[in-house]
Each structure stands twice: as structure tokens, then as C-alpha cells.
Amino acid sequence: MTSAPTGSRAIGAPVPRLEGRAKVTGTAPYAYDQPVEAPLYLAAVTSTSARGHITAIDTAAADRLDGVVAVLTHENAPRLASDENAELWVLQSDEVAFRGQLIGAVVASRPEIAAQAAGLVRVEYDARPHDVEPGPGRDDLYAPATVNTGLETDTIAGDVDAAMADAAVTLDRTYSTPLQFHVPMEPQTAVARWDRDGGGDRLTLYDSTQGVIRMRQIMAAVLGLPPDRVEVISPHVGGGFGSKLRPKAHHVLVALAARTVEGRPVKFALPRRLTFAGSGYRPSTVQRIRLGADADGRLTAIAHDAVGGTSKLVEFAEQTALATRTMYAAPNRRTTHRLAALDVSVPTVMRAPGEAPGMFALESAMDELAVACGLDPIELRVRNEPGRDPETGLPYSTRNLVACLREGARRFGWTDRDPAPAARLDDGWLTGTGVAAATYPAYPVIGPSNAAIRALAGGRYRVDIAAADIGTGSRTALTQIAADALAVPLDAVDLRLGESTLPAAAPAAGSMGLGGWGSAVIAAARAFREKYGTAPAEGAEAGATGAGVPGAGKVALHAFGAQFAEVRVHADTGEIRVPRLLGVFAVGRVVNPRTARSQLTGGMVMGLSAALHEHGVMDPGPGQVVTRDLADYHIAAHADVQDVDAVWIDEADPHYNELGAKGVGEIGIVGVAAAIANAAFHATGVRVRDLPLTPDAFLR
């Protein structure tokens, strides 16, 4: 590991999570646990039609139930101020855009009463035909203006078709990934209280969110409140994975309810079944990959055409082919994204949006090409390593993919691998190994972050930043950064985050959190020391805005990695197991090796889960996802997760930020599904191009 910056003491140390004890003893207050006085409870009414209009909504039976305080529908809900985001235009019209849409709310003295009353609301629809499946054979696919994060929809260079016609070896394959859901252990929860005082209306929202500032801004706009009249508090978050990045309909619903019962807090935890239409998801993808290569396996053409679904309500275009723009050298290139607009709930970012599904396709195809060329898959990748970013022509700030592949090969024991498929049987199990590359952009920060530092008594310091710790360990890592920036011991720093009254900061997204927030903390510490020196008076305070990305526009900024998998497939039953996963990553400087390793192995487990299990099933009949609980939407169980290890190579990237740290939140998931599918091919000779890899795929 790279040595920490000069003078550093805390950065690089495997500091245990500061709130770890509170979490494992059940005393850390999550949003729903906040001690509010005399709360009311909300239960939602959801649409059972996938498209149409509500023609009648009868709440009489619900209203009559003892303990019911209010029943809200589009007929009586308070009016909202902004319909800019159609998903947040909640209870404002009779229109139904998808099955499972929030169309009403019951507020009651107890959650059981609220739920019972919600079940008594009768709704009639003028239902229209719905369209919920993106493919195949549609003639109405369209090209979005941009894909997620504002990137180009298509990139084309050279002539792929001509290069394919001339290539010694070609591959033209289609891969698919299903609907995937975030299913964090803590579901979407919010507690809202609406007050009126001399300054007018005011909303307090205890929320489980990846970003309190963004939440405050958007909620204020939707509700027609000044931003400083909305306070969002989110001290702990039990996993988000993207599902808690953006305000969703339930936030507006609970705020409307709170406004209706002014002065009393309203609590709402989305039941797990409602999260499947209520908290976003990764849309399914169908991806065509074409590769052309010379006889030595050097790519002459690389094309990645991705088709996905989105909601008619709000567009979300997963950047599925993004990674293909930077992975390998080839003179003729093409990436495209097309969408089908559907009567479904709104998709959103989910851990490594773009790279997670896209690299399953590309890295499976590279494995197929290696087989076709008779080349070792690592050697194939090494031969196609670009000197500069293939599409922008920029030099890489750091690009250590080959180092990751080589280090992984050494640690994993790749060298003696017999490439023959279906050649090893061990006690009834066919065994194999596979490899895939990983990459994730080091995005320029989506918004500057600010931090403030205040001297407390006894040589202690308070560090304030409206950052989020969604279970990643950012509270701990930021405390380490602050300690070093102030040159004080770790326990002299009292860091606060997760409150919208703190200095504004970017949300936890795109693996940008620690870099952006850390830069702000460093800048604030510098400003503080410049102003007050090393012996500040108690109460001395200084703040600053974090620096931008120094290398932005000058260098190509990406993290890289290599995923290795060992797979066993039962010869009689098709059951598939992954006894070993190894990830080797190049992610810049690692601030906290304990929590970073957790992030990386956690990502790998999520990748394993996507490879073997996760499969959201949309039934086109009712127009609903029918795998709506954790018994039907499988994620990996403990028994599926065996030896998973993550290591990183010596790297620091000063072009990205002063810390030299790239993010670790997402790259862990990238490439895992391909490595497992490649290993399954090596084990069985069966190439599975559609996730997940379930036992039936391997039965003859």
C-alpha cells in the first residue's frame, strides 16, 4: 500500500467503524427509530391497475375505523407546488402510470390500524392496456438525449461493419440482464412533521437517504417551501445502493400526510413488498456485443448496442455501454443506447449503474473471444490494453488494469490453468475458473461539498459536513481525514454528518463521496489553521469548499480491477456454487483499509448475487413485478458466499483529489457476474449469456 501523505497518522489505518458498537447493539437510531412525540403511522394505498384513471375511490370504511386520523387521496390531498418531476406529483391527479403507484394514504394512531384501513379503501379504474416489457421485436425504441449522468447516448468511430467483415476472428453475441432490485436491509423509511410558526410552514423530515441536501432542495421545490424551511435528518442509513439517492413518491406522501395532521409526526416504513415498485430498480438490459480481431487477438472492432427499459413517467437511461468506451483499444468502435418507454415504475441508479450490466456483457464476450482465438483470457486483455483513453484520446491518470490482472493471476493460481472446458470433475461437481476485468469512472464531483470546523474545549474539534454514511464507513474515514488534516489524534475529532443544517455537501453517489467530502474537510482544516493556528480559542470556526478535480478534462480518470472466480456446477442437478472469489483493485489511495475492504467485498457479494440469483420477474398480465419479497426475489444467502477476498495494488491518483483516493463503493460489483459466467463455461462448456445463472441453465 502507498504510504500516507506526509504527517499522516490516521489515514491508512484500519480504524473500526465509530458507530459500529451502536449499530450491532441496536442502539443507533435510524430514521424510523427517531424518538418523536405522539407519532401517527401511515399506510399506503397502491394502484392495482398498471395504466388508466381512477374513476372512484371510496374511503368511507377506512374513515370510520377507530384510530384513523386522516385518509388522503387525490381528491383531498394538499396541492403541491411543482410537477417538474412527474414521479413526485403524488395524489395530484386521477392518473395511474404503473401498478403499485401510491394513490392514497391512511394516517392512524397505530400502524396496524393504518394498514387495516388502507385495505378497506375501494378503488375503481378506467384501465387502459399497458405495456411493461422492453423487448424483443419492438419498433418503438428510441435514443434518449443523454444517458445517466449526462453522458453521450452514442459514440461512433471508424467503421465497425467494415472492420468486422475484414476481421480474422469475429464474435457477435447477445447478452441479457434482468430487473434487479436494491433491497437494502433497511427499507425506505421516513418520519415527517409539519409545523407552522412565525416564519410560516416548516417540514422536518427524518429520512433514510443518501443525501440530505438534495433531499431538502427537491422536497422544498415540490412542496413550495423555501429550502431553509425544510430540515432533513439522516444519521444512519441501513444500505442504499442507489435506491435512497433521489426523493421518491413516499417522501411526498408522508409530507402531505404530515401537512394534513399538522404538528404531529407521521411515520412511514415502506413494506418490503411496496419497495419493488416504490424505490427504483436497475432496468433489464439486452446487449449486443460485436468484436472483430486479428489472428493474434488484437481488436479491430468493438461494438456495444444496449437496449433497456424506462418509465413513461420519468426517463432513466442506464449507461450500460459506458465501460466499453474505455476498456480496450480498437480503431473501429461503437456504443449505443436505446430505450423502451413503459408503463412501469421509475428505474434508478443501482450500484455501478452501467458498468454492472455492461461489463457482464463485454467481459463475457472477451472470454468468448479468448476461446475463439485460443488465447489465455488475461493475455487477450493485455494485448488490447490502450495507451490512452480510446475515445477521448486523453492519457490515463492511472490505469493499472494489467497490474491487477497479473497480481490476481499470481494470488489466485491462474498460471497452471488448463483452458479446456468441461474437463474437471470433482466428486460429482464440474469445476472451473474464470476472470473478468472491472472498471468504474472516477467521476468529476456532481456538486461541491463544504465543511466547517469549530474548536471545542480541551483541544477537541467539531467537523461538520452534510455528508452521508449509508453503511460504507464514511463517518469513520472522514474522521480520519479530519484528524490528519488538523494534525490531531483521531479521538479529538467529533464529526457530524447526515443533517441538512450542516454545510452543504454532495450525496453519496457514483463512488464520489469520500473524495469530494474529504477534499472539503481538508480545505476546511487548512482554512481553520491558517486563520487560527494550532492553538485556537474555543468557538473559533472556519469553513471552506472542497477543491474540484484537478485532472478534470486533462486526463482520463477511472478505477480498474480484476475479478477471479472459481465455480463448481453439479453434474446431475446443475446447482452452481462459487467457492472462491478474488478481486484485485486499483482505486487510488485507500483511506481506511478495513471499511474499504468491506466495500469491495460487499460489492463482490452483490455481484455474486446478481450472477447466481437476482431476477426480478415482471408478469405482463397484471403488469406487475411478482417477485416482491425476499423469498421470491433471491439474493445470495450466507451459504452462497464462501471465500471472498479483495486486495488492492499500490496506487495514488493526485489528479482526482488531494487524497489520491478514487471511490471504492461500486467497482467491487463490476465484472463479478462475467467472471462467474466465464468460470461456469470453463467448468461445464455451457455458455450462459442471460443472468442469472440458475441450475436449469446447466441441465442437459
Binding site: 408478469d619 398480465g621 397484471p622 411478482v626 423469498a631 436449469d696
Partner: protein, 328 residues
Amino acid sequence: MNPFDYERPADAGAAVATVASRADAAFLGGGTNLVDLMKLGVTGPSLLVDVTGLPLDRIEPLPGGGLRIGATVRNADAAADPEVRRRYPMLARALLAGASGQVRNMATIGGNLLQRTRCVYFQDVTLACNKREPGSGCAALHGYNRHHAILGASERCVAVHPSDMAVALTALDAVVQVQGPDGERAIPIADLYTGDDPERDTALAHGELITAIDLPEPAAAPSAYRKVRDRASYAFALVSVAAVLDVDAGGTVRDARIAFGGLAHRPWRASRAEAALRGAPATGASFRTAADAELAAARPLPGNAFKVPMARSTLAAVLRGLAAREAR
């Protein structure tokens, strides 16, 4: 969930009388399935009669060499019982193949037999299901039916029975002891599960309480329970096989007892496979022939055609394993 009354009687007679007295009363065991269904609105009893305090929690030998497992014995305790493990290892394995440690700690043996199908359409009150709402149709037939039946199903219902334990009990010819308003009776497990009527899972009448499961003296032959599922634990069976194989010294099958899970609305006793095996040489070819004999009647759905080859190869593999153990 609707409001409900709750009682916890001290003896079985009182429990039976209480449930019998109200048409929508239900017995409550571990609650691992019933309470879920109440939360989902699939069922809404106005009275729950908790039977976990009844003195039905013992495992004791039966005259004649069998074993009686009380209905309120927890799944985890039955699986850990030394007599169950020693004499009925297939049952212990089936129990441990089901659910999770936490669920097994709560679930009772009697409740396990009576758990409802996990068909996603049965569990969603907004969708069509003849089992839940007679006459409403079967959304699974043309919907998501990966987990559904390939044997013994009808156009009206293609749900599968979820229990692992009941599959082993079926191969063991267990007998279910029942106490009802009209007295006690014993029901062979093959007769517990009815078939043709989706609304009616079992032969039990309202108010009848399972008090125990009797296991006959085990056969002196190796047995196995093998479950194939979509993840390594905590998932319902795609296919499971409970089998006892008795092979004579000459390598000829003397007797076989086989039940499938995951294929039908009930644990599926594979009588045709058993008949094909009796007197046949204990070879891979015989095992495949036996599997084919049972699966000839399979009527797979678009989403579960794989269950036919999966059941065939899993049964053949289990029998090969048993034959190899016997030969040792």
C-alpha cells in the same frame, strides 16, 4: 391485518372445542406461515388458538419400534433429536433443508404439514388465484411458473406444496394423528393431502388438530433426502427427492420408497418409479428407467420444463448414491 382474538388453551380438547366453535378460527403453531398470510391479507381469522402450550411437545418411542413426534415439537428440535437422527436420518436432513435456523426454531411439526403454497399469485390478493378465491382463475398458468407443478396439476391450480419434511414423511409412510370435535383419528400421510380441489389442501375438517406424527419402524436400508434449489440455503425446492433403497446381495432391488418435492401440489409418492425398480438390477439404467416411468405423466409449464430433466437426473443420482452405500 385485521384485528383478531387470541387464546392459549392448556389442553388439546379445549383447543379443538374453541376452534370448532367459530367458523373462521385457526390454530396457531409457530406462526411462520400463518402470520405472514395474515399480514398479506390472504387469510384473516378472527380467532387464533395458540397450540404451542399444549403438552404435545415430546418425541417418544411407539410400541412396535416406531417413533411418535408431538405436533408442537419445533422443527429444529426434531432435526436435532438423537433418535430421529439415528433412525430416520432422511427426516432430519429434510428438516434441516427447510427454511432457516430462525424459522426452524419457531416452526412446529404439525404446522409444517399444514403450510400453504408459496405461489406468488396465491400470496398476492390483487391477483387471480383459485386456491385463495375460488373461481377467480389461475394467474400462474400463464404467468411466472418457474416453481410450479409438473405432476398432478390442473388448469385450475398449478401450485406446489412447499414442505421438505412432508416429502420425507411421505417416503417413510408416516401416519398423522388427529384430534377433532368428533374424536381422534389416524390419517396415513398419503391421505392427508387431497388433490383435486384447489381450495382444499388437506383432508382435515374445521377444528381438527394434528397432535402427533407417527413414524413406522424404519426400513433397514439406506435413505437420502436431496434438495435442489436456486440458492445454497433458504429457498424452496425446485426438485427434492426422498428415497429409501433396499438392494439384495445379488444387486437386485428388493424395495424402494421414493417421494418427490417441488413437483406437485402435494408430496409426490413416486409409485410408478418404485414399481419399476422392484426386482430390477440396481444400475444406472434401471434408475433412469424408473425416473422416466414416473415422469412420463409430467405436464410442464413454459417456465418449468427444466423440472423434468432435473427430477430425472436428481432421482437417478440419489439412487446411484444409495446403491453405492449399500454395496459398501
